[in-house]
């Protein structure tokens, strides 16, 4: 089973094969959890949403149609929809739990500048319109192809490229002074 493709595993899951489900979980739980963390920036929420998404996969396995979309695209779409629901209900987001990316052993001024930049960038990402943020996370962080990301968001390839482009431009604008600080510090 470890050699089986996602499609083969899903066919087994549709027949209620728990072992096949376990393999899918091993392959995709980490990436899905990271994706959910990056779009809502809360680790506890990411865990809950990841759990909920996999339960949906199990409960609604029959709805997945092989050949229509890849399994991970379908999974990310489920996760994304759940995150939107959660986001709409909560509205208030916390950035406190996001881990700090500290470059140990580097120049303290540079570390400080970098950590400030990371924190500000996280805030800026959180403030992006939801679809821009998701598009950026899918393409830049999760390594999905642009076509897969477009499938997750249910938009055309051109629309997806536009979302990523606008997200990057907005962030660059907001980040420009901070990047200059890093350059000065180094």
């Amino acid at each position: 089973l470890s050699e089986a493709s996602d499609e083969e595993l899903m066919a087994r899951v549709q027949r209620r094969d728990q072992q096949a489900f376990r393999y899918l979980l091993d392959r995709h739980a980490g990436p899905l959890r990271n994706f959910l963390f990056r779009i809502n920036q809360n680790a506890a929420d990411a865990d809950e949403l990841c759990q909920e998404a996999f339960l949906r996969v199990w409960q609604h396995a029959g709805r997945w149609e092989p050949g229509r979309v890849q399994f991970n695209t379908w999974l990310f779409r489920i996760g994304h929809n759940l995150a939107i629901d959660r986001y709409r209900k909560q509205r208030e987001r916390s950035l406190e739990e996001a881990p700090e990316a500290v470059d140990e052993g580097a120049d303290p001024r540079r570390v400080l500048a970098r950590s400030q930049t990371a924190a500000q960038l996280r805030e800026a990402i959180a403030e992006l319109p939801e679809r821009q943020r998701t598009a950026l996370v899918l393409c830049h962080f999760q390594g999905l192809s642009y076509q897969q990301a477009a499938d997750v968001l249910d938009v055309s390839l051109e629309a997806l490229e536009s979302l990523v482009s606008r997200a990057r431009r907005t962030l660059k604008q907001q980040l420009r002074p901070l990047i200059d600080d890093i350059e000065i510090a180094s």
Binding site: R16, Q18, F21, R22, L25, D26, A29, G30, R33, N34, F37, R38, Q41, A43, A46, D47, C50, Q51, F54, L55, W58, Q59, A98, P99, A101, D103, R114, T117, A118, A119, L121, R122, I125, L136, V137, C139, H140, F141, E161, V164, S165, R168, R169, L171, K172, L175, I179, I182
Partner: protein, 159 residues
């Protein structure tokens, strides 16, 4: 190899859409972009800025650690296991009722057979009990009780 050229403005758009990693650039633009990078200082500067921006992005939202992942997976599998247990009896009955893949061409065979049971029971009752002569009222009483309505109360009062 493509001989098309791209302008600095188009190169900026490329970086905005796909980032600094050339592996993510569309195949059709790879060659033209690389040519521009080799020939233009401004393009190299834009590319360097884009690389720096990508690094900042990576640092801002790193992967969550994997320490909690096994616990999360275990929780999911436990939940799947319990839902499987809850649903198994219902699921088995449903699978049996719908006949499974072997009876897929006649999907309603078992539901129809199940629906026939009361009818057969009715025939059975009719054949087993003697025909009512309207005088002893025994069968009428029994059938009234079987009707499971509150009419039997009035019927019993009248007795």
């Amino acid at each position: 190899m493509s001989t098309e050229k791209i302008t600095l403005e188009e190169f900026t758009g490329l970086l905005d859409r796909f980032g600094a990693d050339a592996a993510h650039w569309p195949q059709a633009l790879q060659s033209a972009a690389q040519t521009l990078l080799q020939s233009s200082v401004a393009a190299r500067r834009l590319h360097r800025d884009a690389m720096q921006f990508d690094e900042c992005l990576d640092a801002a939202l790193p992967d969550l650690g994997t320490e909690d992942l096994p616990r999360l997976k275990r929780r999911i599998l436990e939940q799947i296991g319990s839902s499987l247990l809850e649903n198994s009896a219902v699921l088995r009955f449903w699978t049996w009722l719908m006949g499974g893949p072997r009876l897929a061409h006649v999907v309603l065979v078992r539901p129809a057979a199940l629906a026939m049971i009361p009818l057969v029971l009715g025939f059975g009752l009719g054949l087993t009990f003697p025909e009512s002569n309207g005088s002893d009222g025994e069968l009428v009483t029994e059938l009234t009780l079987l009707a499971l309505t509150d009419r039997y109360e009035g019927y019993l009062d009248a007795q």
